[in-house]
């Protein structure tokens, strides 16, 4: 029985490790500036995790393989209550390894979350609602028109409550897809109209909740032109599973061509671009 259990534990361990090492199911290629650093931190972590996991399981398997009861009369186990030296060693070693990992793991976080967006970042306001994403672009004046919850009217398509009487709002556009420039810092100002949603584009390697009552700023730089799926990652109600939108990362010329377009043309142009770039899935 002990040998069977050992073999099963070892097979499970090997298959589990293989599932990661084969990379058949893996992250999509990172398309953000911080992505490779995050992937590197993941790789270091998964190596530590993989070695610890395999070592513990192999050790456990070895014990049940080797120390089974043979039923010999008078044969007894080792009488020991432990070893303070061993306790010290494994406590210190795991503490050093685990806490170092934890500290190393702060660098990507710090670069994204403990610093403001660089000056001159391309800024879009994201306003989520049950089961739709709205993206509010400031237009050529780079100033967002005023918004007010009292002016929100989904029926007449004023999804973000844009105040049309504000001069800054004249050139603003609100559409349901996100278009950003490649290789330029982008700042998103995240808001929600109703419940908590979460902004999730897997190749960007970050997520951020959109919390009603708050405006949360995040920044990143996308490094690869293309179209990517945007998903909601926080349970927001009945149709959470299809709260889908798209993110277009565009080269400079195409980004420039969007500038200053009035709402209707902006929307039409985005539609063309969405058709032009196939969805990247890996």
């Amino acid at each position: 029985m002990g040998r069977a259990l050992a073999v099963i534990i070892w097979i499970i361990t090997a298959l589990s490790v293989l599932m990661f090492v084969s990379k058949k199911w893996w992250f999509p290629t990172a398309i953000s500036e911080h992505g490779p650093a995050l992937d590197r931190q993941f790789l270091i972590t998964i190596i530590v995790v993989g070695i610890s996991f395999a070592a513990a399981q192999i050790g456990l398997g070895w014990m049940v393989w080797k120390y089974r009861d043979t039923g010999k009369a008078g044969d007894r186990g080792l009488y020991t209550h432990g070893s303070n030296r061993l306790e010290m060693i494994w406590t210190v070693v795991t503490a050093v390894v685990f806490i170092s990992l934890g500290i190393m793991g702060q660098s990507v976080w710090a670069s994204l979350r403990l610093h403001d967006a660089p000056a001159g970042s391309y800024t879009v306001e994201v306003v989520a609602q049950q089961f739709q994403w709205n993206f509010h672009y400031p237009g050529k004046d780079n100033v967002f028109g005023k918004t007010d919850p009292k002016l929100i009217d989904d029926g007449s398509l004023n999804f973000v409550g844009l105040d049309e009487s504000d001069p800054n709002a004249k050139d603003d556009s609100v559409i349901t897809a996100l278009a950003i420039p490649v290789n330029k810092p982008v700042e998103l100002r995240l808001r929600s109209k109703d419940v908590i949603h979460s902004f999730w584009v897997p190749p960007l390697r970050f997520k951020q909740d959109l919390v009603p009552g708050m405006e949360i700023k995040v920044h990143f730089t996308a490094t690869k032109v293309g179209q990517y799926e945007l998903a909601c990652a926080e349970l927001c109600g009945q149709l959470h599973f299809k709260m889908r939108s798209f993110m277009l990362v565009l080269p400079d010329d195409e980004m420039d061509s969007l500038k200053g377009l009035p709402q209707a043309q902006f929307q039409a142009r985005i539609k063309e671009l969405l058709a032009k770039y196939p969805i990247t899935t890996d």
Binding site: M1, G2, I8, L15, M19, W25, P28, L38, Q41, T45, V48, F53, A56, L60, M63, V64, R76, G77, L78, Y79, T80, H81, G82, L86, T94, A95, F98, I99, G102, I103, G105, Q106, S107, W109, A110, R113, Q129, P149, D154, G155, K193, D194, V195, I196, S198, P202, F206, K207, V211, G213, M214, E229, A233, L235, G237, Q238, H240, F241, R244, D282
Partner: protein
């Protein structure tokens, strides 16, 4: 500290059926009641996971029986998204509260803590009875939460409590996940299906559960501190008792916070307060304050709910698993025929886990919008909780080292616990890093992690405990052949279910999606989703063998002697099952530490704690008794 209170809590053995088996004051009966409650709850929770897996693998398929049972949730037999999400919610709630918090602590803890410390009963038998019955009421309310919206007449009946209680809207159960994040959970019907009367009952059920757990926790702490028999010093207690004690302390400190949060949430829902609801919300086409269905709310904080919830929720993880750790240590030593390796370190590790468990709740909230600076502290503290967890693992393996292992079913499940605890716990090193959480949060690697470690590992601890203590509780063994069959399939099955979920998370598959049909980037995962579902169906089916084994063995199992496993602790020092007062009027006196196996020179390979004749010189000097 160790003293006896003879006669203080003695109550005569009841004679009538009702006082003996229903409203019993006997901790042993109450323990069995908790275990039966958990067995009922886990059957419901598991059936729900079966339905969820069916929907995820074969979305849009018509299952006629589903249509008959749930005409609103599965019209024409096809499960709708709101039914799926209410299954997610109820599965999590039932499993975490009514299974993982009841059986390990209320069940086995209730039955064995007093016996293992040599007491006649719990300190407060009436309180103990109340804690069970309060918990049972909580369970009934959670079941009502599933059906109140679907059932017209039940919905009307509850409507007497107030307009927000009117059910019968035709949807199925509350939708919010077991975490019930506000404001979705706070807004009421306006926020969509699953936010009506069922959600009220969900909150109420959890509040009731908190009360029951608090009563239990007080009892455990008092009993352990005051009622240990002569010679039972703290460091002679079995590790199970340390685990139950620490669990009770965690429960005492964390459940009041959830209770408070739950009351505030209920007030937001039914009394128009705004603890968790900010101003200016526009929900389902209606602005807050402009419509009687959506009163004016202003100034609340959604993140406050998350802090209150996770301040409870993270310790809750340890409430679920610490008793399993205790049982595993206990069973490993017994069947390895060796003292526990590093008993003192094990005690410290239990404490360290319990203490650190209160300072890491923020790792559930890295991306919630809380201060990014606090994330740094939460992240490093979270990684450090891996240290006592690793210490425990090393000591379990150390306990096996040089042993003479007997592979009973209980032992197999205890070994499975160690394997699963490592497999599930170790991914905490990934998820605990705020940077990596940016990618991992709310993807399938999270359910993979917590199902392995707090779900399945804890359940393996309970399986081990049940196979191990069954002969003591019922005087009969569970069938070992069925038990081993149950172990092998379950052990391989749970790995097949949860390891693939890790890589689904890497691809980016979000949790709590009722279908994976809408996103191109998820298409390549479909074979894996199918594999997981088939593994789940097989694993769940095999649990029927377990249920059969439990109930068949109660009446037909092979008769067990008082100490069938050659074990050392006090529960094996009395009859199987023990008499009403546990030790037939004579409280035992303890002379040794709890795990004196393989003592050189002793006549047997085990020395019972009550054995006054044996001389044991413990190698590190603190367990031993010399005379």
């Amino acid at each position: 500290m160790s003293e006896t209170h003879e006669g203080v809590h003695r109550h005569p053995a009841p004679t009538g059926f009702i006082r003996k088996y229903i409203f019993s004051l006997d901790h042993k009966v109450i323990g069995i009641q908790y275990i039966l409650l958990a067995l009922a709850a886990v059957a419901v929770g598991m059936t729900m996971s079966l339905l969820m897996r069916m929907n995820l693998s074969w979305p849009g398929t018509s299952w006629p029986i589903l249509g008959t049972l749930f005409p609103t949730g599965a019209p024409g037999g096809v499960m709708n998204p709101e039914f799926y999400l209410s299954l997610v919610t109820m599965h999590g709630t039932i499993m975490v509260f009514f299974v993982l918090t009841t059986a390990p602590q209320g069940g086995f803890g209730n039955y064995f803590l007093p016996i293992q410390i040599g007491a006649e009963d719990m300190a407060f038998p009436v309180l103990n009875m109340m804690s069970f019955w309060v918990t049972l009421v909580g369970f009934i309310v959670i079941l009502l939460a599933i059906v109140v919206e679907g059932n017209q007449s039940l919905g009307e009946w509850f409507g007497a409590l107030g307009p927000s209680f009117v059910g019968g809207s035709g949807t199925v159960g509350p939708i919010g996940g077991w975490t019930g994040y506000a404001p979705l959970s706070a807004l009421g019907r306006i926020a969509g299906p699953g936010q009506g009367a069922g959600m009220n009952l969900w909150v109420i059920s959890i509040a009731i559960f908190c009360v029951g757990s608090l009563l239990g926790a007080l009892n455990f702490i008092t009993t352990l501190l005051n009622m240990r028999t002569k010679g039972m010093s703290l460091m002679r207690m079995p590790l199970t008792c340390w685990a139950w004690f620490t669990t009770a302390v965690l429960a005492l400190l964390s459940f009041p916070v959830l209770l408070g949060g739950g009351i505030l949430l209920l007030l937001d829902r039914i009394a128009g307060t705004s603890f968790f609801i900010p101003g200016g919300l526009y929900v389902s086409g209606v602005l807050s304050g402009t419509n009687p269905n959506f009163p004016l709310h202003t100034g609340g904080s959604p993140i406050l709910w998350q802090h209150l919830f996770w301040f409870f929720g993270h310790p809750e993880v340890y409430i679920a698993i610490l008793p399993g750790m205790g049982a595993t240590s206990h069973i490993l030593a017994t069947f390895a025929r060796k003292p526990v390796f590093g008993y003192r370190a094990m005690v410290f590790a239990i404490f360290a886990i319990g203490l650190l468990g209160f300072f890491v709740w923020g790792h559930h909230m890295f991306i919630s919008g809380m201060s990014p600076y606090s994330a740094v502290a939460f992240s490093v503290l979270t990684l450090s909780i891996g240290v006592p967890s690793a210490v425990k693992t090393f000591n379990w393996i150390g306990t096996l080292w040089g042993g003479r292992i007997r592979f009973t079913t209980a032992m197999l499940f205890a070994l499975g616990f160690v394997s699963l605890f490592v497999a599930g716990g170790i991914s905490g090193l990934i998820l605990g890093q705020s940077s990596l959480d940016l990618a991992m949060h709310d993807t399938y690697i999270v359910p993979a992690h917590f199902h392995l470690v707090m779900g399945v590992a804890s359940i393996f601890g309970m399986f081990a405990a049940l196979y191990f203590w069954f002969p003591k509780m019922f005087g009969r063994f569970m069938n070992e052949s069925l038990g081993k069959f149950h172990f092998w399939i379950t052990f391989i099955g749970v790995y097949s279910i949860f390891i693939p979920m890790h890589v689904m998370g890497l691809v980016g598959m979000p949790r709590r999606y009722s279908q994976f049909t809408e996103y191109a980037f998820l298409n390549k995962l479909h074979p894996l989703v199918l594999f997981v579902s088939i593994s789940a169906i097989i694993t769940i089916s095999v649990q029927l063998v377990f249920y059969f084994n439990v109930f068949w063995s109660m009446f037909k199992g092979a008769k067990a002697s008082d100490n069938p496993w050659d074990a050392t602790t006090l529960e094996w020092n009395t009859s199987s099952p023990p008499p009403h007062d546990n030790f037939a009027g004579v409280l035992p006196t303890v002379y040794h530490g709890p795990y004196e196996f393989a003592v050189p020179g002793a006549p047997n390979d085990f020395v019972m704690q009550t054995d006054a004749s044996a001389e044991v010189i413990s190698s590190n000097g603190h367990n031993g008794h010399k005379h």
